[in-house]
Amino acid sequence: MPLRAYLSRHIEELLGKVEAAVSPHRYAVLRRKLVLIMVAAAVLPLVAMSVINFQQYQNSLSRELQNPMRVLLGKTRSAFDFFLAERTASVSFVAAAYRFSELSDERELNRIFQVIKQKFEGFVDLGLIASNGTQVSYAGPYKLQGKDYSAQSWFNEVVFKGRYVSDVFLGFRHFPHLVIAVQHLSEDGSYWVLRATIDTRQFDRLIASAGLEPDMDMFLVSRAGVLQTNSLYYGRVLEKLPFPMPQASYETTVRPFTDPTGRDLFMAYTFFPETEYALMAVKPRTSALKTWYTMRTDLAAIFLAGVLFILVAAYKLMGLLIRRLQESDDRRELALRQMEHTQKLSSIGRLAAGVAHEVNNPLAIINEKAGLMKDLMGMRQEFPDRERYTGLIDAILRSVERCRGITHRMLGFARQMDVKIENIDVNEVLHETVSFLEKEASYRNIELAMNLADSLPLIASDRGQLQQVFLNIVNNAFAAVADHEGHISVTTWEKDPETIGVSIQDNGCGMSDETLKHIFEPFFTTKKGTGTGLGLSITYGIVKRLGGDIAVQSKPGQGTMFTIFLPKTTPDGAYKS
């Protein structure tokens, strides 16, 4: 799996090779990689989601766009169906309700025609045609009595099918109209045909009442592609559509379509099963998709803003993380360097001591030789160029003195590395230490008792460090006791031939067992806010380094006693840090 391999390689780099990652360039590379991984992890799902959203939205939107057209078309078709069915039914009713003799009476037919015309809009005329095809009677604005229809195809069709609805045509009336003809069979087997003409301007009214959007065009068309109503885009009634008719379908169909003038449209159409008509509607796609385009812009804006946000967040976050990493690396580096430095110093110190020793012996020889020369010269009464030689010898002696200064400084430096062991009177050190605090004791009215053993032997130890130990503990005692009633006693004694003891006891606030458990741990403090928690841990460290031991007893409210045991002679190596 290459991605996994890639990731693990980089994670190894992140975790495993941090040692080497010290140059600023490496941090920059690390940051770039982390940002890339993070951005990829965040942006990829976002992209996937956006694409899926985009497509789903596109689908649902285009359904949403097509639906109104579908509905509108269906509604209008129903209106047409109803219109034609109503008129066909009324003609059928008249044919069935009246006898031939009644209908052939011109006055009677005219009366019936007037009633129909009042009840149903669009009737132009009404005529009764006998089975031989001649017009028997006629009601309407034209003089059509006696006209012979037997040769016309519609007449044969109505005889054959029982009813007939024609295409729109101008005919000799010179306005668009259509014909509805119904055949009536009487009981005796004879038949006649009742024929009505309908003014198709009614169709335009039906379409107008459908409530079209301004840029939408809807028209009725024959199966042959001849317009039956006026079209907004494709001409007037009875003109031919400039594109071929689609496959006949009685379902309402909506599809994208480009017409011969290059307009991008949605085209919706449905065919009438009973008649030769199809209802068709077109709508420019640009207007239909306007909401879609704004939606797409919004989507893109949100996507871009999201990506930008992720980028900025990843960059900032990683910057912070890398800076922390760098800081902690730097700190560790510094600690390592300090340790190295200390070690270097101590080896330099040892080296210096060796060199100084080696140099001091020959230096002593030079010193004595030159001194002897001077002595010998001084013993002579006469010495040629005495002045000159005296000057030369003095120069040698001055140089020796200079070298001595250098070697002694080197040795002094070497000595700093080690604890300086001297013969020490612990009583004296205690006196000196307590003297720092006597002023405070008198201010606060604290009783300070020194019960020091008279013949306490000297011990080999480091004066400065012992002083720090005593000062630390006495200071703590001072902090623990109350003014006016505080009592601190310092006691020394010879515990055994190898060890002396020092105890410092107070009657202060004391400590709980819990506190006692942690008292020598570094960073443990009860002086909240003011203590470092290092005092007693340093004290403990010093006492241990000097080969001694330290113990503490305490009861809350009763006081505390620290006891320190120090060896009279420092064990070998104990003073080496």
């Binding site: 001591a353 100084a356 020793h357 080696e358 001091n360 012996n361 230096l363 002593a364 020889i365 030079i366 010193n367 004595e368 030789k369 001194g371 002897l372 002595d375 010998l376 013993m379 020796v400 001595r404 070697t407 002694h408 080197m410 040795l411 002094g412 070497a414 000595r415 300086k420 062991i421 001297e422 013969n423 080999a460």
Partner: protein
């Protein structure tokens, strides 16, 4: 009670021959009779033949170490005052020596007048002890 410089008896023990001979000559010029030895054993022998007032003793020597010589001297001839000569500025040997009963110590290279003064003090101490 005090002695003239001419009657001070000094023994110098150091492994550096050039240093020993030169320092002995310079002390002689100042009227201090100085016998010498180039190692610890010889030094102890010379000391036993005729115990001096003051022993000038190098701390770092091959063979018998200076501090061992010091201990032997303090054991057998406690009146003899020992001044340690040390090339190592480290006071460790010096302090160790003081604990073992040395009179004082001097760090090489030193000023001859300082040494003579210190020998004088040591002689007086030796006379008191003796």
């Amino acid at each position: 009670m005090s002695l003239n410089m001419e009657n001070w008896k000094v023994l110098l023990v150091d492994d550096e021959e050039e240093f020993v001979s030169t320092l002995a000559e310079r002390l002689a010029i100042r009227g201090i009779q100085t016998r010498t030895a180039l190692d610890g054993e010889t030094g102890l022998r010379r000391l036993a033949e005729d115990p001096p007032h003051v022993l000038l003793l190098d701390v770092m020597m091959p063979g018998m170490r200076g501090l061992d010589v010091l201990r032997a001297v303090k054991r057998d001839h406690p009146a003899v005052q020992v001044i340690l000569l040390t090339g190592q500025g480290s006071t460790k040997d010096g302090i160790e020596g003081m604990k073992e009963g040395a009179f004082d110590y001097m760090m090489k290279p030193f000023n001859i007048d300082g040494l003579v003064a210190k020998i004088g003090e040591a002689v007086e101490q030796a006379l008191r002890a003796g």
